[in-house]
Symmetry: C2
């Protein structure tokens, strides 16, 4: 396996440029990673709370990872995984107190009639299953998604993920992100609903019909759109009016990201199904679909869902610890508080820097547009530059939006206001360097 590194080999931070380049080429060849986050790829070797550390001992403030929403290596989640894995890990063909108690607790966090849970191994599997149920229940095939959405990596979910940069099939219709600048804040709700109605009509005409409108409740890959609260309600009604179901994809927004437990509750809607993923196990692979009793009965009557590892006691133990941590550490309140500090700071920077076009978000999920000074046009190159400069200054951020001109900020929910100020200080410096 020439080119691949043995255990104990030097970490990326200890390599010369030429050595790193050889390692990257080898990795791309063998593992085929399509893209790294940064021009200078990072190899973290340790994580602790909001920080990642590289092999040279540098500490990075992680403003981007979504999965470890409770913080990297959270000791309570780690202990729960270790204890349960040492005790028992079986499949869902057996009874399990641990799994059932988790289901009871999780379902208690959802409004009626969302009273049933199917556990999976990932958010992709959750969206895949929700789509299957929606098509089964409605007898239709069509799906409406936003134009840069990513809902998963299975065949069925890649098909509804135009953000993966592949053409979507005819029965998948796209609508623009709910950007208030396209419609005006007051008109956003009806404008967005009109887009849903148009595409539902198209699906009706082609014979596919509408099975589901599926939306990431915070539109992360579009660049984050959370305001005004409630704007989703009319779109949900429009989808239902066309006979389709509304699936809230909470893989990004769920488990406290917006300062509320679920992103959809910001909009005063009750989805027909909710899909869960990444933060559910703080990095342990677990996902789920929350649905109604009659839909679950339909699924079981046709082809019972079985996931070898999906409903395992270890997955449930990890997910239970996540709920414990959210409660005990008051992470929803903290997301609100640190999120406020972050928002205020970002708005302050937006006023002083012509490079920032817009700041959007709720809780600890932010989209910050980089713009060409003067014209205010989207500036993907500036965003690329900022993300890479932040990385060299030991802060990790991501990019989103159709043109990649939006910084995506999604730190662990445990970030303190001091750490948020730390980020703002570095971000301010990096913006200053852009001139």
């Amino acid at each position: 396996m020439t080119g691949l590194i043995p255990t104990g080999a030097p970490h990326a931070a200890e390599l010369s440029d030429a050595q790193l380049e050889r390692r990257l080429q080898a990795r791309r060849k063998w593992l085929g990673d399509a893209a790294f986050e940064y021009d200078l790829p990072l190899e973290p070797v340790r994580g602790d709370g909001v920080y990642l550390f590289d092999g040279a001992g540098h500490r990075y403030l992680d403003m981007h990872s979504n999965a470890p929403s409770m913080g990297h290596g959270h000791p309570e989640v780690v202990s729960a995984i270790a204890a349960q894995a040492a005790t028992l890990n079986t499949h869902s063909g057996h009874l399990s107190n641990t799994v059932e108690a988790y289901a009871a607790r999780l379902l208690g966090l959802f409004p009626a009639p969302l009273r049933n849970l199917v556990m999976t191994c990932s958010g992709s599997e959750a969206n895949d299953l929700a789509l299957r149920v929606a098509r089964m229940v409605t007898g239709r095939k069509g799906v409406i998604v936003t134009s840069r959405a990513c809902h998963g990596s299975t065949a069925a979910t890649a098909e509804i993920s135009p953000g993966l940069r592949q053409p979507v099939p005819a029965h998948v219709r796209t609508i623009p992100a709910p950007d208030p600048r396209l419609a005006g804040k007051a008109e956003l709700s009806s404008w967005f609903a009109a887009r849903v109605r148009e595409e539902a009509d198209m699906l009706q005409k082609t014979g596919a019909g509408l099975a589901a409108l599926i939306l990431d409740s915070v539109f992360s890959f579009e660049g984050v759109f959370t305001d005004p609260p409630g704007f989703l309600a009319q779109a949900v009604e429009a989808a239902r009016g066309a006979g389709g179901m509304f699936i809230a994809d909470e893989v990004q927004a769920g488990f406290g990201r917006t300062g509320a437990m679920w992103g959809f509750s910001r909009h005063g809607v009750v989805p027909d199904m909710v899909t869960l993923g990444k933060p559910m196990g703080n990095g342990y692979p677990v996902g789920g679909v929350v649905m109604q009793a009659d839909h679950l009965a339909r699924l079981n009557a046709s082809a019972p869902y079985f996931s070898g590892c999906g409903g395992s006691p270890v997955a449930a133990a990890a997910a239970t610890a996540v709920l414990d941590v959210i409660e005990r550490e008051h992470l929803l309140r903290n997301a609100g508080r640190s999120g406020d500090a972050l928002r205020k700071g970002l708005r302050r920077l937006a006023k002083s820097s012509p490079r920032i076009g817009d700041v959007r978000g709720a809780g600890l999920c932010f989209g910050v547009d980089l713009a060409v000074p003067g014209s205010g046009a989207p500036d993907p190159e500036a965003a690329r530059g900022v993300v890479n400069a932040l990385r060299r200054n030991f802060v990790l951020a991501g990019r989103a939006a159709p043109r990649g001109h939006t910084l995506l900020l999604r730190p662990p929910l445990s970030i303190s206001t001091e750490q948020a100020e730390q980020f703002l200080e570095v971000f301010g410096r990096v913006l200053g360097m852009l001139g």
Copy 2:
């Protein structure tokens, strides 16, 4: 959440019949488990090696679980998961020594040109991706599977899983299991290949064409068919002759189940893709597709595969520990040795009991047909009775085959010859009770 049990509630073994029935009804209602393994469902509370324990302290010999192939709660795998989860758990957008070293080691266990790995969270995701790649590379849609196969629970893999008891679409064609009794041992290879050719022709006629022949290398859900070694080769050639790829689904057979590392090697074939699942992480949710460089390049050029948890350092650490355990505990050799003891004992029982129709298998994967004495007809009721009687006698076995008349035996690879004899003794008693 009325009906669902709180943490710390009594385990199933401590409940009265009426209490248990209430709990089962509640669980079915909320979690919608379609089926339990046994009439009297088991709630294991602890696992250790080949044994599971219930809440009343009863010890069960597990002859059925496939995921914990290295034994329940294997301390080395548990430690690896705990240590890595405490240290670092990130996604595949960062470099990781742990992940790359695992890939190098795993790929070294495959024949050329299988030199590339994409990691996923489950075997379902692995088969889903392999199917997507096969369709992308061949430009065709058709798939050939055996008539009771189960390849996963995503939309795309459920479609090629007639064993889930749902109708398959027109572009999925089924062939019978490679049962020597249908063709004769000498003719099995050419007979099975002829079935593949017939269905490939049908797919050609309908315009779908053949994208892939996908087979569980040990045909577990069909009732286990492993002999004579080499019988798959002609079928693989037939699929390739029709322009299709051969995908070996090693979710059941992989990682030593047959006494060899991979089930396909028994047949002297090199698959175009290999899919991995359950035993890969001994219960930690991890899967993968092993493929060729040009196919991976095609995938990356169209829609790069990203799995949040799929290529994580914790998944790689668990999977690395599994390879360590297989080597250090000589599990392939043990699977051969204990498998021989099991086979001899099962054949002995078959001679003395008119209830056993046939014994098949390799390594530690066995199918044992239950038959009506005299006529030798398949006897699903007897198999059901045996599995439930074994459970009441603290031995866990499963059922397979189209009519469910086959006992499926798949104990941890660490089972000793003494433990195998223990099983044989109980099985003999249970057979005797059938009369």
